[in-house]
Symmetry: C2
Subunit: 415 residues, 2 copies
């Protein structure tokens, strides 16, 4: 990289004009997914992606679920290009355009030592090749727009040398790509304030506690087997805003207090309170979906069985909290000390078939004890004895924890 | 019967004292079930069964679903007895006791011509043998407490010669047996006003239109196959009152207006509006259940598939409305002109197995055309091609209409 930059400097010295047309600048980033424990549902402004209520999330560790983005910029590229998971997508998507324009308008000079390599006014002449991919299956119904737009915003900001003028400014840009992306720039526990202004400048995300703050928390992502198509959250929430009377009441009267209580529960590391609020908020979000007309159902019978299972597990002591986004998959919050007992009970309640037994758990962060993992595989499979439950009702279990925010993995490279 | 009464008179003349100890008086009645289109969910007073919101229902024709009650009264019976569907039940159940006491306190003299057979002060000395049974399976999750307590109240009132002092007075008594029973004394379309007073005297039901008023309406009762146990509505609604914030909002802010609109839709015979309100209210009731903590799920994946099916059917023109009570079974409201097309589409979407094909439809009122019924049985069964759907997802379809209220089937008989 230093060699490359030395070469670049001599190239620039030799022929500034020529370099401008032949040099490709590249930057790479990763962005994490996040999981709302107080849900975002409903926009008050569709174009600016301004929500009707504040929300709060845990950033899912980057090494478990993330989007990776590489942007190459060159003034001599023939055209702008966008590739998502290896498939070309339109560069003219309004949300993508909006993020690029917002960041271009904040572009600064790219300097190397004291030389200006790209003047801020020149960035608009660059064409971009954007390549983004997710390290997790999009079909599984795990939100990828949050990680995608967080990664993209982080990457473009680095490319264009954008500096935040206030804490959270970048989140107002990621927000315009995908609302929940605003919460993925920071790691740990992140609150997205709905804001009051009509231009959206006060609708940004702030970290309330880092990923180091509450170390004992583990997340179990349970992917529920389903053939059904889901309704996109964008269209679903719009229908809810238009038709659900309960949604208005939730947004206006309930969420504000709930956010305050949730923040306190996290800062106090009060798992019981955190779990109660998380479960209640997930339930209320799905209640709003059911009150939408026509009603929207994201959870299925297996999802509901997971809910009942967790309430059974919590009978004597709160061991776990469930939350469901706009799909049938559950995410469980569990303290590290309880993860083994919850996983054991989960294997007994939802026995995987022998075919799925070896591969059902992903533990990329090595959070589980190897001996325990082996013992789990010895629980007898009794799927065939449970006529109510489809085979492999739970398709996969991903074990992870709260992690850091979006990051630059490779800064300005020249070729 | 006239012979019996003549014999009775001579017995009374011979030995008044002896007759009193040897004569059994019997009365019989039938009570219909009803289906709420604006749902009752939540009590503000548990003992008096005072609801937190008004509700509105259609009385289901007696010849389709009803409870039948026979009460025998005799001063010389050794003890009070209560038999439900052939099984002895405790006579000390508080709700049963309350209904009996309320009616006893309003008892009048039983007269025959000008003779007083039983003085009002004597009724308290009679012991009762109550036998009640339902002509529909209790396991199917079709509310039988409404028909049961309506039938019982009607029967006891007749036995004790109670006269209503105001229209709906008997419904305040049936209400104390089971809230929804208050709406089953009258036929047609019945509104239960929640009332304001703490003694409950203004929490009664009134007929807003008779069963003759809106002739084209048909009801299809779809019993959904399930092995799951249901949570009783009594305990479910209590948990909702205690834990759901949305419930309070619904009761205080939404239902009043909805009742007014529903009444108007029925009086205008405006099916589109009626259907929309019915579906929205059913959805909101289940949203409240999902917002309860722990959440209550009465609908299952088949129920939700029926909802989606109806919205598909309604795409061009509103043909049907669904409503779900505290269970997975659907009731559809359909105009007579659309019943054949809805049933045909239903058979295509939820094909019965060949085993169930002949018996799936019950049409005790002969509302369906015989040729159509035969044609329905020729739709090919493709259950095996639909992996998402359990075999015989819909177990039975009962075709009926709005009917008359509770009725006396046999007045004072003596033996």
């Amino acid at each position: 990289s230093e060699n490359k930059q030395a070469r670049l400097r001599s190239t620039l010295a030799m022929d500034h004009k020529q370099a401008e047309f032949s040099t490709t600048i590249s930057v790479s980033s990763r962005g994490p997914s996040n999981l709302a424990v107080v849900k975002y549902w409903g926009k008050r402004d569709f174009d600016l992606v301004l929500p009707i209520n504040s929300s709060l999330s845990a950033t899912i560790h980057l090494d478990t679920l993330c989007s990776s983005t590489t942007i190459e910029a060159n003034q001599s590229f023939q055209r702008n290009e966008m590739w998502l998971n290896g498939k070309e997508e339109s560069f003219l998507q309004p949300r993508l355009q909006r993020c690029i324009q917002e960041l271009l308008s904040r572009a600064q000079d790219l300097k190397n030592d004291s030389n200006i390599i790209v003047k801020k006014s020149e960035w608009k002449n660059f064409k971009l090749h954007i390549r983004s991919s997710n390290n997790f299956p999009t079909a599984a119904g795990l939100a990828s727009s949050a990680s995608g737009y967080a990664s993209l915003t982080k990457c473009l900001a680095e490319l264009f040398c954008v500096k935040e003028e206030f804490d959270g400014e970048l989140s107002t840009i990621a927000r315009q790509g995908s609302g929940s992306a605003s919460r993925s720039l920071d790691g740990g526990w992140v609150k997205w304030n709905k804001g009051e202004l009509s231009n959206g400048i006060d609708s940004f995300a702030v970290q309330i506690a880092s990923d180091e703050y509450w170390q004992e928390i583990r997340l179990l992502i349970l992917v529920v087997n389903t053939h059904k198509k889901k309704i996109s959250s964008t269209s679903g929430m719009q229908t809810s805003v238009e038709t659900s009377d309960l949604l208005k009441f939730r947004a206006e009267k309930i969420v504000k207090q709930r956010i305050l209580e949730m923040e306190k529960a996290i800062l106090d590391r009060n798992f019981e309170k955190f779990a109660e609020l998380t479960m209640k908020d997930s339930n209320q979000f799905h209640a709003i979906c059911a009150d939408t007309f026509p009603p929207i159902y994201y959870m299925n019978d297996v999802s509901r069985r997971i809910v009942n299972f967790i309430h059974d597990q919590n009978r004597d002591r709160i061991k776990a909290a469930y939350t469901f986004d706009a799909g049938p998959n559950a995410v469980l919050f569990v303290r590290n000390d309880d993860i083994e007992s919850i996983l054991t009970a989960l294997f007994e309640e939802f026995p995987p078939s022998n075919r799925n037994r070896e591969s059902i758990i992903s533990d990329s962060l090595s959070l589980l004890n190897v001996a325990f993992l082996k013992s789990l595989k010895c629980i007898p499979s009794s799927a065939q004895h449970n006529p109510d439950l489809p085979i492999d009702a739970i398709q996969s279990i991903t074990v992870t924890k709260v992690g850091p925010g979006a990051e630059i993995t490779s800064t300005h490279q020249f070729s």
